[in-house]
Symmetry: C2
């Protein structure tokens, strides 16, 4: 009986054992056959699959999206355009995230520029700008980003 134990697979794919079991629970890799003693024995191909997941994750795909991508890969009806579409969509969403962050950055830079860095905090324009941003006239441009920007 050939196959990889979970720890060998983990080493090959450079992920942790826990991660592999976690992915199985999430449906990203199929539950492998078991030995008589109930040990998972993985086909070698699962190493590539795990590397795929790892790589896609680095590129900003969520596990959910990766699952879809993987399903596509084994769907005979799927075409390259499906994959391409998803990739383009991801690129779009990353572009948007960059735009949001750029907005925030600009505001922050205005704030920094407005502050001379001397004197007591009680007169700090940064604090002031943050305190009265919606009602009174702020010192800086009113460019604020609403909703769903996830920086973290």
């Amino acid at each position: 009986m050939t196959g990889l134990t979970i720890s060998r697979l983990a080493r090959m794919a450079e992920v942790s054992i826990d991660t592999i079991r976690f992915y199985e629970g999430r449906g990203l890799i199929a539950p492998p056959p078991r030995t008589d003693s109930n040990y998972r024995m993985y086909p070698e191909g699962d190493a590539a699959r795990l590397r795929f997941i790892k790589r896609a994750k680095e590129l900003g795909f969520s596990l959910c999206e990766i699952k879809d991508l993987l399903a596509l890969q084994h769907d005979s009806r799927a075409s390259k355009s499906d994959v391409k579409l998803r990739t383009e969509e991801k690129a779009r969403s990353i572009r948007q995230k960059i735009r949001d962050l750029t907005q925030i950055l600009e505001t922050l830079e205005h704030l920094v520029a407005a502050c001379d860095g001397h004197g007591p905090v009680s007169e700090c324009p940064i604090i002031e700008a943050l305190s009265f941003s919606d009602e009174t006239e702020p010192l800086h441009h009113h460019n604020h980003v609403k909703g769903g920007t996830n920086h973290g």
Copy 2:
């Protein structure tokens, strides 16, 4: 006895009641005095404080960082340069985040460009690139050890 009930404060600051109590637990808002019946009665100033928090959050500060900023605001030893420094640091970290995302975006764009969008998924260059991640190398400047399986 004047003051704002929690729901009035929530309406004024445009946050939820739960959020206010949550912030109290996190130390962003001081525990207000209570009525005889144990109701929170907020000073009006807390509305500004909540708007400050809201605004800072929109600018990418975490609750933890905001807490520090607020503490600074009431620390007589603190100076504008403290606030400025923190703002600059936040700006730097956002700049870095933008750089990271830009890297990812470029890789994604290469991938999209390499794919004509026609034919079966089995020949998709995007899938292939993700599967054999040695081709394109983004983001991680410290090379992880690929060749050496550190177990004989």
